[in-house]
Symmetry: C2
Subunit: 261 residues, 2 copies
């Protein structure tokens, strides 16, 4: 369900020492942003915090108050460093314990794998009071939703699978549409002032300018700029793209333009 006139924003809280230490490259930010866009939900803030109870609690409370939705990733497994469920319960001021519905899911999952549910695995059935479960088709142990907070796994394949169960729960707003113009062989500084004028005259779209550099097939470096136009009105986005295309053509640069989507 979407209400086309409303701006709906989301935040992501990435929980995990392994991201902050550089051991693991996060990819969940990008997956979430791309998942949310078609629902008309805009990712507007991300924080990465270590596995420290108080830090997680205060980040959850700051972000759930500031945005329509908050997603968390990481820290919901069976081990001692998985403290997200407890921290979210504390943030909401509710109790947490093993829940029968979550336990039933774990029992069914492990029964088919001839695996016992021991003390560690039981931890994964601990769900804050008042939360609803989020299905995990990959490895059984569910995530959960409490209020406007969705608590997801950190392993990317599991996180993405859980999002399928989240989508129908979202009440999106106006979709942000975007189109990009990729201009090779030109530098930002060649047209920055003119670009600034175009952007300033168009308050209903945002125009981002992103230089790129990459090794050229024949040696040396290919460079250029990608301009990204974003906005909620298709007409305004289209007009800005045309104006920018003309600006680049006047510099003898033929941009590759992506369809508005």
């Amino acid at each position: 369900m979407t209400s086309p006139s409303r701006t709906v924003t989301a935040a992501l809280l990435i929980i995990g020492d392994e991201i902050l230490s550089g051991r693991t490259q996060d990819t969940n930010l990008r997956s979430l942003a791309l998942f949310l866009a078609p629902f008309g939900v805009e990712l507007r803030e991300v924080r990465v915090v270590p596995d420290i109870h108080e830090t997680i609690v205060s980040a959850v409370n700051a972000l759930r108050a500031a945005h329509d939705y908050l997603f968390t990733t990481g820290g919901i497994g069976p081990t001692h460093d998985d403290i997200t469920a407890d921290a979210v319960a504390a943030a909401f001021g509710v109790s947490i314990g093993v829940r029968e519905d979550a336990l039933a899911i774990l029992k069914a999952y492990y029964a088919t794998r001839a695996t016992e549910i021991n003390e560690g695995r039981l931890r994964m059935a601990r769900i804050p009071e008042g939360a609803t479960l989020i299905l995990n088709p990959v490895s059984g142990a569910p995530g959960f939703q409490i209020g406007n907070v969705f608590v997801l796994a950190g392993v990317p394949s599991i996180m993405r699978a859980m999002l399928e169960d989240v989508g129908p729960r979202l009440q999106g707003g106006a979709r942000v549409l975007s189109s990009s113009l990729r201009a090779a062989g030109v530098r930002e500084g060649d047209f920055a002032a003119a670009l600034g004028e175009v952007a300033k005259a168009r308050p209903h779209v945002s125009i981002g300018s992103y230089p790129f550099m990459q090794p050229a097939p024949g040696g040396g470096t290919d460079y250029g700029v990608t301009l990204v136009v974003r906005g909620r009105e298709i007409g305004a986005v289209g007009e800005a793209v045309e104006t920018l295309s003309d600006l680049l053509l006047a510099l003898n640069v033929q941009p590759e333009i992506s369809p508005i989507a």
Copy 2:
């Protein structure tokens, strides 16, 4: 310079709509974490914010107060959406304008490329009052340091090159040493309770547990767990690694152990 008894922490503020929209995959977080570790500087918090002046100002002020160092990436190019320098100046309450030292660097850089310094490029010489420059050997336009804040480019190759000029300015603390045990064919739930006991008895190290799954060479999925021991005392890290190795061997799992580094 390091003072071995002190914990020195850093935060990273990633500035850019392109990261939040999912268009661009951030890699600077990981590069920075890996760069800082040998200096005894621990990355403890990361925020990603959009290109909005007030949002950047308040994030800069929150993070520079909470940590020994703050790094920012993104938003220091020549275009209208490059607003980081102004936001950092506002956060410090200082003025900003074209600085002669920065302009001299740009002039020298563009002179060798037969490129004019126009209005857009001049923006890249705008530096907050009291800041010192950070060398950019890739594309000329410098970053800058003001107080405990280092303002770096967002393009990964430029950001990494700038870090070379930052390293000598850091006063690190005790290095965090780590070692990992990679255990194939075992699941977290198989030993979570025992692992929790080991971790609880060792307050001077942190033990992280990270499941992995990957396609097996012969089809199906390889799975396992990587345990990461981190701490500032080499003896304590070594003892924990040995204890965990014994725990895994008792489950008939032979871990691959990385040297403590």
